[in-house]
Symmetry: C2
Subunit: 230 residues, 2 copies
Amino acid sequence: MYTMSQAFRLKQSIEDAVIAGEFQPGDRLDEASLAERFGVSRTPIREALLQLGAEGFIDVRPRRGAIVSVPSPTRLFEMFETMAEIESACGRLAARRLTPDNDAAMEAAHRACETAARNGDSEQYYADNRNFHEAIYRASRNSFLADQAFALHKRLSAYRRIQLRARNRLLQSLQEHAGILEAIRAGDEQLAATRLHDHVLVQGERFSDMVLGLSPGGQSPAESRRQTAK
Amino acid sequence: MYTMSQAFRLKQSIEDAVIAGEFQPGDRLDEASLAERFGVSRTPIREALLQLGAEGFIDVRPRRGAIVSVPSPTRLFEMFETMAEIESACGRLAARRLTPDNDAAMEAAHRACETAARNGDSEQYYADNRNFHEAIYRASRNSFLADQAFALHKRLSAYRRIQLRARNRLLQSLQEHAGILEAIRAGDEQLAATRLHDHVLVQGERFSDMVLGLSPGGQSPAESRRQTAK
DNA sequence: ATTTCTGATCTTGCATACAATTACCATATG
DNA sequence: CATATGGTAATTGTATGCAAGATCAGAAAT
Protein backbone atom coordinates (compact mmCIF):
# COMPACT_ATOMS: atom_id res chain seq x y z
CA MET A 1 0.00 0.00 0.00
CA TYR A 2 1.48 3.31 -0.96
CA THR A 3 -0.96 5.56 0.82
CA MET A 4 0.87 5.06 4.10
CA SER A 5 1.94 8.15 5.96
CA GLN A 6 5.57 9.14 6.02
CA ALA A 7 5.64 9.14 9.80
CA PHE A 8 4.78 5.46 9.82
CA ARG A 9 7.41 4.59 7.25
CA LEU A 10 9.97 6.64 9.15
CA LYS A 11 9.09 4.89 12.36
CA GLN A 12 9.82 1.60 10.67
CA SER A 13 13.06 2.88 9.15
CA ILE A 14 14.38 4.25 12.40
CA GLU A 15 13.41 1.10 14.22
CA ASP A 16 15.16 -0.99 11.59
CA ALA A 17 18.26 1.16 11.88
CA VAL A 18 18.32 0.65 15.62
CA ILE A 19 17.79 -3.09 15.30
CA ALA A 20 20.50 -3.29 12.66
CA GLY A 21 22.82 -1.71 15.17
CA GLU A 22 23.34 1.45 13.15
CA PHE A 23 22.32 3.43 16.17
CA GLN A 24 23.59 1.87 19.33
CA PRO A 25 22.28 2.20 22.87
CA GLY A 26 23.07 5.66 24.14
CA ASP A 27 23.29 7.22 20.68
CA ARG A 28 21.46 10.47 20.19
CA LEU A 29 18.60 10.60 17.68
CA ASP A 30 18.76 14.17 16.49
CA GLU A 31 15.59 15.40 14.83
CA ALA A 32 17.31 17.72 12.38
CA SER A 33 19.86 15.21 11.12
CA LEU A 34 17.25 12.48 10.81
CA ALA A 35 15.05 14.91 8.88
CA GLU A 36 17.91 15.67 6.51
CA ARG A 37 18.83 12.02 6.14
CA PHE A 38 15.33 11.03 5.12
CA GLY A 39 14.60 14.19 3.18
CA VAL A 40 11.58 15.27 5.19
CA SER A 41 10.79 17.95 7.72
CA ARG A 42 11.12 17.51 11.45
CA THR A 43 7.39 17.00 11.95
CA PRO A 44 7.08 13.39 10.77
CA ILE A 45 10.43 12.59 12.40
CA ARG A 46 9.12 13.82 15.74
CA GLU A 47 5.96 11.80 15.31
CA ALA A 48 7.96 8.68 14.58
CA LEU A 49 10.26 9.22 17.54
CA LEU A 50 7.41 9.83 19.94
CA GLN A 51 5.72 6.64 18.84
CA LEU A 52 8.91 4.64 19.26
CA GLY A 53 9.24 6.21 22.68
CA ALA A 54 5.73 5.18 23.64
CA GLU A 55 6.57 1.62 22.65
CA GLY A 56 9.61 1.74 24.92
CA PHE A 57 11.93 1.25 22.02
CA ILE A 58 13.80 4.47 22.53
CA ASP A 59 13.97 6.96 25.33
CA VAL A 60 12.57 10.42 24.67
CA ARG A 61 13.46 12.82 27.44
CA PRO A 62 11.38 15.99 27.45
CA ARG A 63 13.29 18.92 25.96
CA ARG A 64 16.47 16.88 25.91
CA GLY A 65 16.06 14.79 22.83
CA ALA A 66 15.73 11.10 22.12
CA ILE A 67 18.36 8.44 22.62
CA VAL A 68 18.43 4.72 22.09
CA SER A 69 17.52 3.25 25.47
CA VAL A 70 20.34 2.19 27.76
CA PRO A 71 18.78 -0.20 30.24
CA SER A 72 20.73 -0.87 33.41
CA PRO A 73 21.94 -4.43 33.92
CA THR A 74 19.12 -4.95 36.39
CA ARG A 75 16.57 -3.63 33.96
CA LEU A 76 18.01 -5.76 31.19
CA PHE A 77 17.73 -8.86 33.30
CA GLU A 78 14.14 -7.97 34.11
CA MET A 79 13.40 -7.60 30.43
CA PHE A 80 14.85 -11.01 29.64
CA GLU A 81 12.97 -12.55 32.54
CA THR A 82 9.75 -11.04 31.22
CA MET A 83 10.57 -12.31 27.76
CA ALA A 84 11.07 -15.77 29.27
CA GLU A 85 7.65 -15.65 30.89
CA ILE A 86 5.92 -14.45 27.74
CA GLU A 87 7.66 -16.98 25.53
CA SER A 88 6.85 -19.81 27.85
CA ALA A 89 3.23 -18.72 27.79
CA CYS A 90 3.35 -18.89 23.99
CA GLY A 91 4.89 -22.35 24.18
CA ARG A 92 2.26 -23.56 26.62
CA LEU A 93 -0.56 -22.41 24.36
CA ALA A 94 1.19 -23.75 21.28
CA ALA A 95 1.47 -27.17 22.89
CA ARG A 96 -2.25 -27.05 23.60
CA ARG A 97 -3.39 -25.78 20.21
CA LEU A 98 -0.84 -26.89 17.66
CA THR A 99 -2.09 -27.11 14.09
CA PRO A 100 -0.33 -28.71 11.10
CA ASP A 101 0.30 -25.27 9.58
CA ASN A 102 2.02 -23.94 12.66
CA ASP A 103 3.92 -27.17 13.05
CA ALA A 104 5.23 -26.93 9.50
CA ALA A 105 6.26 -23.30 9.98
CA MET A 106 8.23 -24.13 13.11
CA GLU A 107 9.83 -27.10 11.39
CA ALA A 108 10.94 -24.98 8.43
CA ALA A 109 12.40 -22.31 10.70
CA HIS A 110 14.18 -24.96 12.71
CA ARG A 111 15.74 -26.46 9.60
CA ALA A 112 17.00 -23.05 8.56
CA CYS A 113 18.59 -22.58 11.96
CA GLU A 114 20.24 -25.95 11.61
CA THR A 115 21.87 -25.00 8.33
CA ALA A 116 23.08 -21.67 9.65
CA ALA A 117 24.49 -23.29 12.76
CA ARG A 118 26.32 -25.93 10.76
CA ASN A 119 27.89 -23.19 8.66
CA GLY A 120 28.78 -21.26 11.79
CA ASP A 121 27.06 -18.26 10.23
CA SER A 122 25.99 -16.38 13.34
CA GLU A 123 24.49 -13.48 11.41
CA GLN A 124 22.27 -15.85 9.48
CA TYR A 125 21.47 -17.81 12.62
CA TYR A 126 20.41 -14.57 14.25
CA ALA A 127 17.82 -14.04 11.53
CA ASP A 128 16.62 -17.64 11.43
CA ASN A 129 16.46 -17.81 15.20
CA ARG A 130 14.10 -14.89 15.11
CA ASN A 131 11.89 -16.67 12.61
CA PHE A 132 11.83 -19.76 14.77
CA HIS A 133 10.72 -17.84 17.81
CA GLU A 134 8.14 -15.91 15.83
CA ALA A 135 6.74 -19.18 14.55
CA ILE A 136 6.19 -20.22 18.15
CA TYR A 137 4.49 -16.93 18.96
CA ARG A 138 2.08 -17.49 16.10
CA ALA A 139 1.53 -21.11 17.10
CA SER A 140 0.05 -19.84 20.37
CA ARG A 141 -2.93 -18.84 18.21
CA ASN A 142 -3.32 -15.75 20.34
CA SER A 143 -2.45 -12.85 18.08
CA PHE A 144 -2.46 -10.32 20.88
CA LEU A 145 0.01 -12.32 22.94
CA ALA A 146 2.06 -12.91 19.82
CA ASP A 147 2.19 -9.16 19.18
CA GLN A 148 3.45 -8.54 22.69
CA ALA A 149 6.09 -11.18 22.17
CA PHE A 150 7.17 -9.69 18.82
CA ALA A 151 7.50 -6.27 20.36
CA LEU A 152 9.61 -7.38 23.28
CA HIS A 153 11.73 -9.60 21.06
CA LYS A 154 12.51 -6.60 18.89
CA ARG A 155 13.42 -4.46 21.86
CA LEU A 156 15.89 -7.06 23.02
CA SER A 157 17.39 -7.82 19.64
CA ALA A 158 20.31 -5.44 20.09
CA TYR A 159 21.38 -7.42 23.12
CA ARG A 160 20.69 -10.87 21.81
CA ARG A 161 22.83 -10.35 18.75
CA ILE A 162 26.02 -9.66 20.68
CA GLN A 163 25.53 -12.73 22.73
CA LEU A 164 24.92 -15.16 19.88
CA ARG A 165 28.36 -14.51 18.44
CA ALA A 166 29.87 -17.18 20.62
CA ARG A 167 30.23 -20.18 18.34
CA ASN A 168 29.34 -23.01 20.66
CA ARG A 169 26.32 -21.09 21.84
CA LEU A 170 24.89 -21.51 18.36
CA LEU A 171 24.93 -25.27 18.59
CA GLN A 172 23.63 -25.27 22.12
CA SER A 173 20.82 -22.93 21.11
CA LEU A 174 19.93 -25.23 18.25
CA GLN A 175 19.71 -28.22 20.52
CA GLU A 176 17.45 -26.32 22.88
CA HIS A 177 15.24 -25.48 19.92
CA ALA A 178 14.93 -29.15 19.14
CA GLY A 179 13.86 -29.90 22.69
CA ILE A 180 11.29 -27.13 22.64
CA LEU A 181 9.84 -28.33 19.38
CA GLU A 182 9.64 -31.87 20.72
CA ALA A 183 7.76 -30.78 23.82
CA ILE A 184 5.28 -28.68 21.86
CA ARG A 185 4.59 -31.55 19.47
CA ALA A 186 4.09 -33.92 22.36
CA GLY A 187 1.47 -31.54 23.68
CA ASP A 188 3.36 -31.32 26.96
CA GLU A 189 2.46 -27.78 28.04
CA GLN A 190 4.53 -27.82 31.19
CA LEU A 191 7.67 -29.11 29.53
CA ALA A 192 7.36 -26.75 26.58
CA ALA A 193 6.96 -23.82 28.95
CA THR A 194 9.93 -24.81 31.10
CA ARG A 195 12.24 -25.43 28.18
CA LEU A 196 11.35 -22.14 26.52
CA HIS A 197 11.73 -20.31 29.78
CA ASP A 198 15.21 -21.67 30.35
CA HIS A 199 16.22 -21.16 26.73
CA VAL A 200 15.37 -17.48 26.87
CA LEU A 201 16.58 -16.81 30.37
CA VAL A 202 19.98 -18.36 29.84
CA GLN A 203 20.55 -15.78 27.13
CA GLY A 204 19.56 -13.04 29.49
CA GLU A 205 21.75 -14.34 32.25
CA ARG A 206 24.74 -14.71 30.02
CA PHE A 207 24.37 -11.23 28.72
CA SER A 208 23.69 -9.78 32.12
CA ASP A 209 26.75 -11.51 33.50
CA MET A 210 28.71 -9.98 30.68
CA VAL A 211 27.51 -6.50 31.46
CA LEU A 212 27.27 -6.94 35.18
CA GLY A 213 30.98 -6.73 35.70
CA LEU A 214 30.74 -3.16 36.86
CA SER A 215 27.32 -2.46 38.31
CA PRO A 216 26.77 -2.95 42.05
CA GLY A 217 23.50 -3.75 43.78
CA GLY A 218 21.99 -5.31 40.69
CA GLN A 219 19.76 -8.33 41.10
CA SER A 220 21.94 -11.37 40.91
CA PRO A 221 20.94 -13.64 38.03
CA ALA A 222 22.07 -16.63 40.07
CA GLU A 223 19.32 -15.92 42.53
CA SER A 224 16.60 -16.76 40.07
CA ARG A 225 18.30 -19.72 38.56
CA ARG A 226 16.54 -22.31 40.62
CA GLN A 227 13.18 -22.16 38.97
CA THR A 228 13.39 -25.57 37.34
CA ALA A 229 12.91 -27.37 40.62
CA LYS A 230 9.30 -27.51 41.57
CA MET B 1 6.21 19.51 37.53
CA TYR B 2 5.65 22.49 35.30
CA THR B 3 8.44 21.91 32.86
CA MET B 4 6.62 18.99 31.31
CA SER B 5 5.64 19.28 27.70
CA GLN B 6 2.02 19.90 26.85
CA ALA B 7 1.91 16.82 24.67
CA PHE B 8 2.70 14.63 27.65
CA ARG B 9 0.06 16.23 29.83
CA LEU B 10 -2.46 15.95 27.04
CA LYS B 11 -1.65 12.29 26.59
CA GLN B 12 -2.46 11.73 30.24
CA SER B 13 -5.65 13.79 30.06
CA ILE B 14 -6.95 11.98 27.02
CA GLU B 15 -6.08 8.60 28.50
CA ASP B 16 -7.88 9.53 31.71
CA ALA B 17 -10.92 10.63 29.76
CA VAL B 18 -11.01 7.31 27.95
CA ILE B 19 -10.60 5.31 31.15
CA ALA B 20 -13.30 7.38 32.83
CA GLY B 21 -15.60 6.41 30.00
CA GLU B 22 -15.99 9.93 28.68
CA PHE B 23 -14.97 8.66 25.30
CA GLN B 24 -16.35 5.23 24.66
CA PRO B 25 -15.03 2.53 22.36
CA GLY B 26 -15.72 3.58 18.81
CA ASP B 27 -15.87 7.30 19.56
CA ARG B 28 -13.92 9.56 17.26
CA LEU B 29 -11.05 11.60 18.69
CA ASP B 30 -11.09 14.65 16.47
CA GLU B 31 -7.86 16.64 16.48
CA ALA B 32 -9.51 20.02 15.99
CA SER B 33 -12.11 19.64 18.73
CA LEU B 34 -9.58 18.23 21.18
CA ALA B 35 -7.29 21.17 20.37
CA GLU B 36 -10.12 23.58 21.08
CA ARG B 37 -11.13 21.77 24.25
CA PHE B 38 -7.64 21.96 25.71
CA GLY B 39 -6.82 25.36 24.30
CA VAL B 40 -3.80 24.30 22.27
CA SER B 41 -2.96 23.80 18.63
CA ARG B 42 -3.32 20.52 16.79
CA THR B 43 0.37 19.70 16.99
CA PRO B 44 0.61 18.57 20.62
CA ILE B 45 -2.77 16.86 20.27
CA ARG B 46 -1.48 14.85 17.35
CA GLU B 47 1.62 13.91 19.28
CA ALA B 48 -0.43 12.75 22.23
CA LEU B 49 -2.77 10.72 20.03
CA LEU B 50 0.08 9.05 18.17
CA GLN B 51 1.69 8.04 21.44
CA LEU B 52 -1.54 6.61 22.76
CA GLY B 53 -1.89 4.77 19.48
CA ALA B 54 1.59 3.29 19.81
CA GLU B 55 0.65 2.03 23.26
CA GLY B 56 -2.40 0.33 21.78
CA PHE B 57 -4.72 2.43 23.85
CA ILE B 58 -6.48 3.97 20.89
CA ASP B 59 -6.60 3.19 17.22
CA VAL B 60 -5.08 5.71 14.83
CA ARG B 61 -5.92 4.92 11.25
CA PRO B 62 -3.77 6.71 8.66
CA ARG B 63 -5.64 9.67 7.15
CA ARG B 64 -8.82 8.54 8.82
CA GLY B 65 -8.38 9.84 12.32
CA ALA B 66 -8.20 8.24 15.74
CA ILE B 67 -10.92 6.33 17.54
CA VAL B 68 -11.11 4.57 20.86
CA SER B 69 -10.28 0.96 20.10
CA VAL B 70 -13.14 -1.44 19.56
CA PRO B 71 -11.68 -4.90 20.03
CA SER B 72 -13.63 -7.76 18.56
CA PRO B 73 -14.87 -10.40 21.00
CA THR B 74 -12.06 -12.64 19.83
CA ARG B 75 -9.48 -9.94 20.36
CA LEU B 76 -10.92 -9.15 23.75
CA PHE B 77 -10.64 -12.76 24.79
CA GLU B 78 -7.06 -12.83 23.59
CA MET B 79 -6.32 -9.76 25.67
CA PHE B 80 -7.76 -11.35 28.79
CA GLU B 81 -5.90 -14.56 28.11
CA THR B 82 -2.68 -12.60 27.81
CA MET B 83 -3.50 -10.74 31.00
CA ALA B 84 -4.01 -14.11 32.68
CA GLU B 85 -0.60 -15.30 31.56
CA ILE B 86 1.16 -12.13 32.66
CA GLU B 87 -0.59 -12.07 36.02
CA SER B 88 0.21 -15.67 36.70
CA ALA B 89 3.84 -14.92 35.90
CA CYS B 90 3.73 -12.13 38.47
CA GLY B 91 2.19 -14.50 40.99
CA ARG B 92 4.83 -17.14 40.33
CA LEU B 93 7.64 -14.69 40.93
CA ALA B 94 5.89 -13.20 43.94
CA ALA B 95 5.63 -16.64 45.52
CA ARG B 96 9.34 -17.11 44.97
CA ARG B 97 10.49 -13.71 46.19
CA LEU B 98 7.94 -12.49 48.67
CA THR B 99 9.21 -9.90 51.14
CA PRO B 100 7.44 -8.67 54.29
CA ASP B 101 6.81 -5.29 52.66
CA ASN B 102 5.09 -6.76 49.66
CA ASP B 103 3.19 -9.17 51.86
CA ALA B 104 1.87 -6.32 53.98
CA ALA B 105 0.84 -4.33 50.90
CA MET B 106 -1.13 -7.25 49.51
CA GLU B 107 -2.72 -7.87 52.89
CA ALA B 108 -3.84 -4.24 53.20
CA ALA B 109 -5.31 -4.25 49.70
CA HIS B 110 -7.08 -7.52 50.39
CA ARG B 111 -8.64 -6.12 53.59
CA ALA B 112 -9.91 -3.11 51.67
CA CYS B 113 -11.49 -5.40 49.10
CA GLU B 114 -13.14 -7.35 51.91
CA THR B 115 -14.77 -4.23 53.32
CA ALA B 116 -15.98 -3.08 49.93
CA ALA B 117 -17.38 -6.49 49.14
CA ARG B 118 -19.24 -6.71 52.45
CA ASN B 119 -20.80 -3.33 51.74
CA GLY B 120 -21.69 -4.45 48.24
CA ASP B 121 -19.97 -1.31 46.95
CA SER B 122 -18.92 -2.43 43.50
CA GLU B 123 -17.42 0.91 42.54
CA GLN B 124 -15.19 0.83 45.60
CA TYR B 125 -14.38 -2.80 45.03
CA TYR B 126 -13.33 -1.94 41.50
CA ALA B 127 -10.72 0.49 42.87
CA ASP B 128 -9.53 -1.79 45.67
CA ASN B 129 -9.36 -4.75 43.34
CA ARG B 130 -7.03 -2.76 41.17
CA ASN B 131 -4.80 -2.03 44.16
CA PHE B 132 -4.73 -5.69 45.09
CA HIS B 133 -3.63 -6.74 41.66
CA GLU B 134 -1.06 -3.99 41.46
CA ALA B 135 0.35 -5.12 44.80
CA ILE B 136 0.89 -8.54 43.26
CA TYR B 137 2.59 -7.04 40.22
CA ARG B 138 5.00 -5.22 42.50
CA ALA B 139 5.55 -8.31 44.60
CA SER B 140 7.03 -9.98 41.53
CA ARG B 141 10.02 -7.70 42.16
CA ASN B 142 10.41 -7.33 38.43
CA SER B 143 9.54 -3.72 37.66
CA PHE B 144 9.56 -4.26 33.92
CA LEU B 145 7.08 -7.10 34.13
CA ALA B 146 5.02 -5.06 36.57
CA ASP B 147 4.91 -2.16 34.10
CA GLN B 148 3.65 -4.46 31.37
CA ALA B 149 0.99 -5.74 33.73
CA PHE B 150 -0.07 -2.20 34.72
CA ALA B 151 -0.37 -1.17 31.10
CA LEU B 152 -2.49 -4.11 30.08
CA HIS B 153 -4.63 -3.78 33.19
CA LYS B 154 -5.38 -0.18 32.23
CA ARG B 155 -6.29 -1.13 28.70
CA LEU B 156 -8.76 -3.68 29.99
CA SER B 157 -10.23 -1.53 32.73
CA ALA B 158 -13.14 -0.33 30.63
CA TYR B 159 -14.24 -3.91 30.18
CA ARG B 160 -13.57 -5.18 33.66
CA ARG B 161 -15.67 -2.51 35.33
CA ILE B 162 -18.89 -3.51 33.64
CA GLN B 163 -18.42 -7.08 34.59
CA LEU B 164 -17.81 -6.56 38.31
CA ARG B 165 -21.27 -5.09 38.78
CA ALA B 166 -22.80 -8.46 39.42
CA ARG B 167 -23.12 -8.69 43.18
CA ASN B 168 -22.24 -12.29 43.84
CA ARG B 169 -19.26 -11.95 41.57
CA LEU B 170 -17.80 -9.58 44.17
CA LEU B 171 -17.83 -12.20 46.87
CA GLN B 172 -16.53 -14.89 44.58
CA SER B 173 -13.73 -12.60 43.45
CA LEU B 174 -12.83 -11.90 47.06
CA GLN B 175 -12.60 -15.57 47.87
CA GLU B 176 -10.35 -16.13 44.88
CA HIS B 177 -8.14 -13.32 46.14
CA ALA B 178 -7.81 -15.11 49.47
CA GLY B 179 -6.76 -18.30 47.74
CA ILE B 180 -4.19 -16.45 45.65
CA LEU B 181 -2.73 -14.76 48.68
CA GLU B 182 -2.52 -18.05 50.50
CA ALA B 183 -0.65 -19.71 47.66
CA ILE B 184 1.83 -16.86 47.34
CA ARG B 185 2.51 -16.89 51.06
CA ALA B 186 3.04 -20.63 50.99
CA GLY B 187 5.64 -20.07 48.32
CA ASP B 188 3.75 -22.43 46.03
CA GLU B 189 4.62 -20.98 42.65
CA GLN B 190 2.57 -23.40 40.64
CA LEU B 191 -0.56 -22.98 42.70
CA ALA B 192 -0.26 -19.20 42.80
CA ALA B 193 0.13 -19.10 39.03
CA THR B 194 -2.83 -21.39 38.42
CA ARG B 195 -5.15 -19.55 40.78
CA LEU B 196 -4.26 -16.16 39.35
CA HIS B 197 -4.65 -17.46 35.83
CA ASP B 198 -8.11 -18.79 36.52
CA HIS B 199 -9.13 -15.70 38.44
CA VAL B 200 -8.30 -13.41 35.55
CA LEU B 201 -9.49 -15.66 32.78
CA VAL B 202 -12.91 -16.25 34.29
CA GLN B 203 -13.46 -12.52 34.09
CA GLY B 204 -12.45 -12.52 30.46
CA GLU B 205 -14.67 -15.44 29.65
CA ARG B 206 -17.64 -13.94 31.39
CA PHE B 207 -17.19 -10.67 29.65
CA SER B 208 -16.63 -12.23 26.27
CA ASP B 209 -19.78 -14.27 26.68
CA MET B 210 -21.60 -11.08 27.55
CA VAL B 211 -20.36 -9.29 24.46
CA LEU B 212 -20.94 -12.24 22.22
CA GLY B 213 -24.58 -12.18 23.19
CA LEU B 214 -24.95 -8.58 22.10
CA SER B 215 -24.75 -7.29 18.59
CA PRO B 216 -21.30 -7.06 17.04
CA GLY B 217 -19.45 -3.91 18.09
CA GLY B 218 -20.44 -3.95 21.74
CA GLN B 219 -21.78 -0.47 22.33
CA SER B 220 -24.72 0.48 20.19
CA PRO B 221 -23.68 2.22 16.99
CA ALA B 222 -26.41 4.80 17.43
CA GLU B 223 -24.70 6.28 20.46
CA SER B 224 -21.35 6.64 18.77
CA ARG B 225 -22.99 8.32 15.83
CA ARG B 226 -24.34 11.08 18.02
CA GLN B 227 -20.79 12.10 18.91
CA THR B 228 -19.76 12.94 15.35
CA ALA B 229 -22.14 15.85 14.87
CA LYS B 230 -21.23 19.03 16.74
C1' DA C 1 -35.74 2.49 -3.94
C1' DT C 2 -30.94 1.54 -4.45
C1' DT C 3 -26.65 2.44 -6.39
C1' DT C 4 -23.14 5.29 -8.60
C1' DC C 5 -21.08 9.39 -9.63
C1' DT C 6 -19.42 14.11 -8.64
C1' DG C 7 -18.20 18.13 -6.48
C1' DA C 8 -18.09 20.70 -2.10
C1' DT C 9 -16.43 20.37 2.55
C1' DC C 10 -14.02 18.60 6.22
C1' DT C 11 -9.90 16.30 8.20
C1' DT C 12 -5.44 14.80 8.27
C1' DG C 13 -0.28 14.99 6.94
C1' DC C 14 3.59 17.68 6.28
C1' DA C 15 6.47 21.95 5.97
C1' DT C 16 7.77 26.11 7.82
C1' DA C 17 8.18 29.80 11.33
C1' DC C 18 8.82 31.17 15.73
C1' DA C 19 9.22 30.66 20.84
C1' DA C 20 11.23 28.41 24.80
C1' DT C 21 14.74 25.71 26.78
C1' DT C 22 19.05 23.50 27.04
C1' DA C 23 23.95 22.87 25.81
C1' DC C 24 28.29 24.86 24.90
C1' DC C 25 32.31 27.66 25.62
C1' DA C 26 35.06 31.27 26.70
C1' DT C 27 36.15 34.16 30.37
C1' DA C 28 36.27 35.75 35.03
C1' DT C 29 36.92 34.72 39.92
C1' DG C 30 38.08 32.43 44.29
C1' DC D 1 43.29 24.63 39.23
C1' DA D 2 38.71 24.29 39.92
C1' DT D 3 34.45 26.46 39.66
C1' DA D 4 31.11 30.13 38.56
C1' DT D 5 29.08 33.04 35.11
C1' DG D 6 27.57 35.09 31.12
C1' DG D 7 26.14 35.11 26.60
C1' DT D 8 25.63 32.67 22.22
C1' DA D 9 24.58 28.68 19.52
C1' DA D 10 21.99 24.58 19.01
C1' DT D 11 17.86 21.90 19.84
C1' DT D 12 13.30 20.98 21.13
C1' DG D 13 8.20 22.44 21.63
C1' DT D 14 4.22 24.66 19.62
C1' DA D 15 1.52 27.34 16.19
C1' DT D 16 0.09 28.11 11.61
C1' DG D 17 -0.50 27.49 6.53
C1' DC D 18 -1.30 24.68 2.78
C1' DA D 19 -1.83 20.50 -0.02
C1' DA D 20 -3.80 15.87 -0.50
C1' DG D 21 -6.84 12.45 0.81
C1' DA D 22 -11.38 11.20 3.00
C1' DT D 23 -16.28 12.13 3.89
C1' DC D 24 -20.75 13.45 2.76
C1' DA D 25 -24.83 15.29 0.25
C1' DG D 26 -27.34 15.45 -3.61
C1' DA D 27 -28.15 14.46 -8.51
C1' DA D 28 -28.23 11.10 -12.18
C1' DA D 29 -28.78 6.50 -13.67
C1' DT D 30 -30.35 1.71 -13.30
